[in-house]
Symmetry: C2
Subunit: 175 residues, 2 copies
Amino acid sequence: MTQPGVVLWLTGFSGAGKTTLATATAGELARQGYPVEVLDGDAVREHLSKGLGFTQEDRNVNVLRIAFVAKLLARHGVYVLVAAISPYREARDEARRMNRNFVEVHVATPLEVCVERDVKGLYAKAKAGQLSEFTGVSQPYEVPTSPELRVDTSRCSVSEGVAAIVSRLNQLGFL
Amino acid sequence: MTQPGVVLWLTGFSGAGKTTLATATAGELARQGYPVEVLDGDAVREHLSKGLGFTQEDRNVNVLRIAFVAKLLARHGVYVLVAAISPYREARDEARRMNRNFVEVHVATPLEVCVERDVKGLYAKAKAGQLSEFTGVSQPYEVPTSPELRVDTSRCSVSEGVAAIVSRLNQLGFL
């Protein structure tokens, strides 16, 4: 049997830096010789969850689909980096229960910073009432109570964030 | 980079023997040391496609979700055995395009035999009008025109079927 992989789950607001951190960390792990896969919430939605909306229930279903795919990959030794807002604790905890080596990283960039960045222009739309279900504006984000790590990208560079993640993975015995 | 894996796609009527063949072949490949994963249409539906029905469109969406997950696994070297009715040629061909090493196995057990077996009691229900969308009864099954292999489980034992599949994989250079 292959060594079991790891599911590194990055949760946080839209614009917090989840995808950037996931991609950069994947690059670093690949450089170290680990098999990696990034499952980005938006990209996966396209393939696995067309037709699902953004209600609490639909968001949770989407999160559990990602968790299912992550599990399949991780049990073949893949280091799976998930970047998904995953705003509800219940679904994140279920994702954790489904996966043996689960590392939750709260990308804890403050909402004000994410709103200011507004990389995709979504906060502006949400505030103008054009998106009725938007985390941090019209929907809650349930802050992780005991994640394995918190990274605030308004206080560190991408490479510092990656270093913090890699160091935590090391500490947990996963590298 | 890992050796790319293979997607072995078993298509055929309900009751044709797809899951049995997939599981037995997976066992044999695992014995030979290959990493394997079985994606069974019904099981995957539960995790990835709750809410989807059995119209042509929904069936095709389900098939493409399986193909997407198979692709992720195969690119990490996994031998993925898919057992799914996948009745429409268009979706099977799309699954093939998505995957580099794709082996289509038509589990070509005749409909009469599947109806007679009726392992899950579904043909009886479909004939009684309790299932309005059922492949072979009220919906077509588009026979694969050039699959890599055909196996008719009414004419061979499970172990003969597995042997035929393994031999074909060998011939294609995948083992």
